[in-house]
């Protein structure tokens, strides 16, 4: 196995990934962004399932043209292995013997069947940091459940508490929310464990995407109150119930997130609107008084926002110290000068997909910049190079 030329904060770090879909591939891609040599093991039967998910050009399925696979696997090398066979397992163990980190998101029962669970790894890998990322984790009654991001996300109370109308279903974010969050969490803890490995040795990190969100997001600001008071809140479908304005409002061409809570922000919003008479009453300078008159307030604000493009509403508000922001679509983000100025759009040339644009790395380190460094690999593109 030839290591890749080293550059970046993680130069010299070798990662083996046995990942499908989003969580583990995202975690390992973050490490690749910053210079780790990531060897992605794809199971010989079909490769990463994301290769079948698209989006594909013209919606024509092709395992080498999946946009999601591309996004999550830039900068990695792909090795095809039938890990369920003795030979495949031996080859994988050979890779692990020279690796620093092993990231995987297979079902625990499958990993046990393949003899690849942490307890079954040879004792000769004392320095390996193994990170398992699954919807429910390695323990507990749900550990071996079949589950996707949707199931994990709604196991966190995020939709119940914070997203959707009270008389309708709780909502997902509209992306792989728990998988992305869990992937970030896994990357942080993997880096921490790796940093201290010389002192404390290798170990197994058991990440549940559901648990990460349930603890850090929904549990964080609700569980203490519930444990003491025995009461809890549910989603309301709007922004904030007691104070106003704090809500998504429609504009001529889309939506803004309108916020003006502090008195100076409210005065700024009034100025942005040209100080209309309806907003003049002194009692409206209190955010709770505005909350008590929310129906009137939002009706009047909408009459203003609907006349203007969202960027205009945002610019006028921001110029007056009111923190209202436009809700950008993906098309507007790709065209936004801010992301261009910060190098957040990176185009890589893929032999089958052609030039393809992805986001840059999510945190900027000026002295050792990170970025997606190479297009996603073809299925098994590096098998001979890595195993040979």
């Amino acid at each position: 196995m030839r290591p890749r030329p080293a550059a970046g904060a993680l130069a010299g770090v070798t990662v083996v990934e046995l990942g499908d879909a989003v969580s583990a591939p995202f975690c390992a891609r973050l490490l690749a962004d910053y210079g780790a040599d990531v060897i992605k093991v794809e199971r010989a039967s079909h490769g990463d399932v994301a290769r079948t998910w698209g989006p594909f050009p013209g919606d024509a399925p092709d395992p080498e043209k999946s946009g999601l696979f591309f996004f999550l696997n830039t900068g990695k090398r792909s090795v095809l292995l039938d890990v369920a066979s003795g030979e495949g397992r031996d080859a994988l163990l050979g890779l692990l013997a020279r690796a620093d980190v092993f990231v995987e998101n297979q079902r625990p029962a499958d990993m046990r069947a393949w003899g690849l669970d942490y307890a079954s790894l040879p004792g000769a890998l004392p320095d390996l940091v193994m990170t398992s990322i699954t919807p429910f984790g390695q323990t507990g009654p749900c550990a071996d459940w079949n589950a996707y991001d949707l199931n994990a996300y709604h196991f966190t109370a995020t939709g119940s508490r914070y997203c959707g109308y009270r008389d309708r279903a709780p909502l997902e974010h509209g992306t792989f929310s728990a998988d992305f969050f869990g992937g970030y969490v896994a990357a942080a803890w993997t880096l921490g464990a790796l940093y201290g490995r010389a002192a404390v040795g290798g170990q197994h990190l058991d990440v549940s995407t559901a648990e990460a969100v349930a603890a850090l997001f929904t549990g964080a600001q609700n569980i203490g109150a519930y444990a003491q008071e025995g009461r809890f809140e549910r989603r309301s479908g709007s922004g904030m119930s007691l104070a106003a304005p704090a809500r998504i409002l429609p504009c001529a061409d889309g939506f803004v997130w309108m916020i003006a809570l502090e008195t100076a922000q409210w005065d700024g919003l009034r100025a942005a609107m040209g100080n209309p008479d309806w907003a003049a009453p002194e009692l409206f300078r209190d955010l709770f008084e505005r909350g008590r008159n929310a129906d009137f307030l939002y009706e009047m604000l909408e009459q203003w926002t609907l006349t203007l493009p969202k960027q205009e509403v945002m610019d006028r508000c921001q110029a007056h110290g009111c923190p209202t922001t436009a809700i950008y679509t993906i098309a507007e983000l790709v065209a936004h000068p801010h992301l261009a100025a910060r190098g957040q759009l990176v185009t890589l040339d893929h032999p089958v997909l052609g030039p393809t644009t992805v986001f840059g790395a999510p945190v900027r380190l000026p002295d050792c910049p990170g970025a997606p460094a190479a297009p996603a690999p073809l299925l098994g593109q590096h098998t001979a190079e890595v195993l040979g």
Binding site: D59, G67, F180, F232, I327, L333
Partner: protein, 410 residues
């Protein structure tokens, strides 16, 4: 007064000065703290963090040390109280950074510079310091000075544009998802810079734009836009790439009880049909293959919802799982505390606060086989003043008392 973390943890020996406030900064510090760093949050009674003032309070006693809303997210940070409006407070903060490896902050651009605690100020006293800024949209670029709240940050990252039931428009996430997410990514930035420091001996100013952390979640939408020119909008609970059908949340018996069901493969579809007793509607030719199920997803969901509504959610999920269907109950806040999955994993733990009350916070949400974190309750204001200002910086009793009397140490 709390002791530094035990020496067996991976970041033992790393000290962090955390000027972060609200939710992002404390979570960034906590992440490093759970991994073993000694994290000292610097705050001030002259400008109490609003998160310390939110009800409910432990045992109903109103105090900035007893807000149950922030204690979980702030756990395993220490606290030193310095009035940073006073130049002597700023000097003490700089002296503290001489003993630190990492500085964290999430003020707006320029605030730390005005306090003479900017990167250049602190690099002067600690050249190899890793300094992590976590502003809304980064340290430069046209949006660098944008004002946002945590709850609305996802607007400029596009996430709000895809959250909602359907094309009628976005539905907001009613809390700041970007905050704990940003705390984690900020910690990633700190750790990467520590690796680089180990390789080179150099520190640096890490720039974490909260917009860019959330932006990654728009990856699926980005690819469909750049490859096919389609602009994603709200999709309810459907699969982000339209792969699965059924793929949604369905009503169950009881008030606000629901089950999530995701069918992506033909095998899962056959398992679902068997589990629900092979009703006549499931034999509809439109549902015979994945493409047909996707094309008729509304009809399919209506049939399924009519069937699920009489069942209790957890029992139904277990029954569907027995057949191999990806299904799980949709939990509410109370369920988080009581569900056997979270109880088995010790996700939420009751701790005794140094002030004597008990509170429930989250514990180590990642299970580590060798280095189990030390979970400490959300800090009381100034609980580490003596340990840090006298023990570490060496203030004498007289100096300490004088600075207390002048409310520099407040």
């Amino acid at each position: 007064m709390t002791a530094p973390a035990p020496a067996h943890l991976p970041l033992a020996g790393i000290r962090v000065a955390n000027f972060g406030w609200s939710w992002v900064g404390p979570v960034a510090g906590q992440t490093l703290g759970f991994l073993g760093a000694d994290v000292i949050k610097i705050e001030s009674r002259a400008r109490i963090d609003i998160n310390r003032t939110l009800p409910p309070f432990a045992e109903g006693i109103v105090s900035p040390d007893r807000s149950l809303q922030n204690h979980a997210g702030w756990a395993s940070n220490g606290s030193v109280t310095l009035n940073l409006r006073d130049p002597r407070g700023q000097d003490l903060a700089r002296r503290l950074v001489e003993h630190c490896d990492v500085v964290l902050e999430n003020f707006g651009p320029g605030v730390m510079d005005r306090l003479r605690l900017g990167y250049d100020d602190l690099r002067a006293v600690r050249p190899e310091v890793v300094y992590v800024s976590m502003p809304a949209a980064g340290l430069d670029g046209p949006l660098a000075s944008v004002r946002t709240y945590g709850t609305s940050l996802c607007s400029i990252a596009g996430l709000d544009s895809i959250t909602g039931y359907d094309a009628s428009g976005p539905v907001t996430m009613e809390n700041a998802f970007a905050d704990p997410l940003g705390g984690i990514v900020g910690a990633i930035g700190a750790l990467l810079a520590l690796f680089h420091r180990r390789l080179t001996g150099r520190g640096q100013h890490v720039d974490y734009s909260q917009q860019e952390g959330v932006l990654q979640m728009m990856g699926p939408a980005l690819m469909d836009y750049t490859i096919n020119g389609r602009v994603a909008g709200p999709i309810g609970n459907r699969h982000p790439l339209g792969v699965g059908a059924p793929h949604g949340v369905f009503p169950c018996a009881g008030d606000d009880r629901w089950i999530s069901i995701a069918v992506l493969t033909d095998a899962e579809w056959r398992a679902l049909v068997t589990a629900i007793g092979s009703p006549a509607w499931a034999q509809d030719v439109r549902f015979a293959d994945a493409a047909g199920r996707r094309a008729s997803i509304d009809v399919l969901h209506a049939h399924l919802a009519a069937w699920t509504r009489d069942f209790e959610d957890s029992g139904l999920a277990e029954e569907l799982q027995r057949h191999g269907v990806a299904a799980a109950p949709v939990l509410d806040i109370a369920d988080l505390l009581h569900h056997p999955q979270y109880r088995t994993r010790g996700t939420f733990v009751e701790v005794v606060h140094p002030l004597g009350f008990t509170e429930t916070i989250y514990g180590a949400y990642v299970k580590t086989s060798r280095t189990v974190p030390d979970i400490r309750p959300g800090p009381s204001m100034g609980q580490d003043n003596e340990r840090v200002l006298q023990g570490l910086l060496g203030l004498t009793d007289d100096e300490y008392s004088a600075l207390m009397a002048d409310a520099v140490i407040d």
